[in-house]
Amino acid sequence: MTRRQRGLHLVALLALIGGLGLFYWQSTGARAVPALAEALNDEDAKVRIAAAQTLAEIGSGAGAAVPGLLNQALHDRVLYAGTSAARALRNIDLIAARQVMTAYLPALNAEDVQTRRSACAMLEGLGPVARPAVPALVRALDDPSETVRIHAVGALGEIGIPATLVIPALLKALHDPARAVRQRALSQFAFSIPATEAVVPHLKQLLEDEDRGIAALALSALSSRQRQAKDPTAVYVTLLQTGNASDYALRQLAQIGPEAADTLPVLIPVLQHQRSLYRYLAAEGLGAIGPGATDAVPALIATLQDADSVVRDSAADALDAIGTPEARQAAAAHRHSEGSR
C-alpha cells in the first residue's frame, strides 16, 4: 500500500467519525424535537412511549412537542403512553401538565373503576406538579376498589408534597385492609417519602408483620431513616451541588420541611434555574420550610415575575407560608394582579 492510499483510508475513517457525530448531534437535544413530535402520532404505542420518554429527557427545549404530548396525555387509549406523556409534560411545561391534572381530577369520581384507576395513574405521572390533586387522592384512599386505592397511594407517593397531607394519608394506607395497598404505602416510606417521627411507631409495628415482604420493607424504611437521622438534608444538598437528580433532591427537601432550613443557600439559586420544574420545586421547598426561610423572601418576590404561572403561584404560596409582613404583602399583591388578569 502506498502512503497516499493509507492516508486516504485514514481520511475516510475521520469522515465516518464526523458523520456519526453529525448523526448523533441531529438525533439528540432540541434538534430531535420535530422528529419526536412526529413520532407521537405513530400508530405503534411503543413508538409514542419512546418519543415521550426522550422528550422528557430534553426538557424545556421540547416546547414544540407540547401540543402532541397534551393530546397523547388526554386521549391516548394506551394508559402507559398517556402516563409517559404526562411525565414528559411535567419536565417541559408546567401549565400544560396542570391542564392534564384538571382534566383527570373529575375522573377520580367516575363510576367506572378503570377510569378512576387511570386517573390515579395519570396524576402519578404528573408527580409533584399535581399537588392540587392531593386532597382528591386522599379521598380516593376510601375507594371501594382495591386497585384504585393502590394507584392512589402510588400517586400520593409520587406527588409527595405537601408532606403535611401526604404523610398522614400514607399512614392511613398502612392500615388498609388490603395487603397490596399496605405494601404500596410502605414502599413509599422505604424508597421515596422520608419517614417522620410520627411514622416510626407504625413502621416498628410492621416489623412484626407475618408477611416477610412487609416486614422487610418496614426494616428498609427504618434503616433509611436511621441513616439520615444525623443530617437528613446532606445527601440532597450534595445531589443539588453536583447537578444530579435535582428534581428528586428538591422534592425530598420539600418533604422534609422546616428541618431543611439549613439548605437555603442551595435552594435559593434554584429559583433562577432554566427548568421550570426545578424553580417550582425550589419554591415548594422554601414554602415547606416556612418562617425559617425568611432570607429567601427577596428571591421569592422576584420569582413572582416568573414566566411560568405555576411557578409564580407556588412562590406566592411560599411567601404566605414564610409569613413576614413583606412576604404576605407581596403575595397578596400578586394574587390581586393575577385575579385582575
Binding site: M1, R6, Y24, Q53
Partner: protein, 185 residues
C-alpha cells in the same frame, strides 16, 4: 506464503481487515440486540429492528453510545492494522506472515471478548450491566496488544525461516557448509 508476495493481495487483506474491524466494532451491539430481539419474537425481524431504532437514543438504552464505546478499541486496532500491514509489502514474506498472525491474535481477543460481553449482557441483563459497556473498551485496549504479542509468538514458533541447505562439497570444492544467507526476521 506465495500469495503474500503479491502486494495487491496484501493490500486487499489490509483494507478488508481495516474496514471490517471498524464496522464490526460499531455494529456488534446492534447486531446482538436485533438478533436477540428477533429470536424472542419468534423471527419477527421488523419488530426487533424497530425496537432497536427506538432505543438508539432513548434514555436508559442509548444503543448508539454503546456502539461508539465498543468501536473505540476496534478503531484503534484498525488504524494499527492499516499502518502495520499497509507498510509490510516490501518486507520478507515471513515477516508479513508473522505480522498477519499477530494481527489475527489481536482480532481474536478483541472479537471474542467484545462478543462475549455483549451477548452476556443481552442474555442476562441486570442493573449493573451498563457498567460492562464502559469498562469493555478499557479492557480491550489493554488486551489487544497482548493478543498481538501472542500471535507474534505463535508466528515465530510456527514460521521459522528455512535453514540453508548444506552444500555438497563436490559442488563448491571447499568441503565446508555454508553459514551465510540466514535471514533474521
Amino acid at each position: 506464503m506465495t500469495l503474500l508476495r503479491d502486494s495487491r493481495t496484501l493490500t486487499w487483506i489490509t483494507v478488508t481487515l481495516y474496514w471490517g474491524c471498524i464496522v464490526f466494532g460499531l455494529t456488534l451491539p446492534g447486531v446482538v440486540t436485533v438478533t436477540h430481539g428477533t429470536y424472542q419474537r419468534h423471527g419477527a425481524f421488523s419488530e426487533a429492528w424497530q425496537e432497536f431504532r427506538l432505543d438508539l437514543f432513548a434514555p436508559g438504552y442509548n444503543l448508539f453510545l454503546v456502539g461508539v464505546l465498543n468501536a473505540i478499541p476496534f478503531i484503534v486496532l484498525a488504524v494499527f492494522i492499516l499502518l502495520h500491514l499497509g507498510s509490510a509489502a516490501k518486507r520478507e514474506p515471513e515477516i508479513v506472515s508473522r505480522r498477519l498472525i499477530g494481527v489475527a491474535g489481536a482480532l481474536v481477543v478483541a472479537v471474542g471478548l467484545s462478543a462475549w460481553v455483549h451477548i452476556g449482557t443481552t442474555l442476562y441483563p441486570d442493573a449493573q450491566g451498563a457498567l460492562a459497556y464502559f469498562f469493555l473498551p478499557i479492557y480491550l485496549l489493554g488486551l489487544i496488544p497482548l493478543g498481538y504479542a501472542c500471535g507474534r509468538l505463535i508466528g515465530k514458533i510456527t514460521l521459522r525461516a528455512p535453514r540453508p541447505r548444506p552444500r555438497n562439497s563436490a559442488e563448491d570444492g571447499s568441503g565446508t557448509e555454508s553459514s551465510s544467507s540466514r535471514t533474521a526476521p
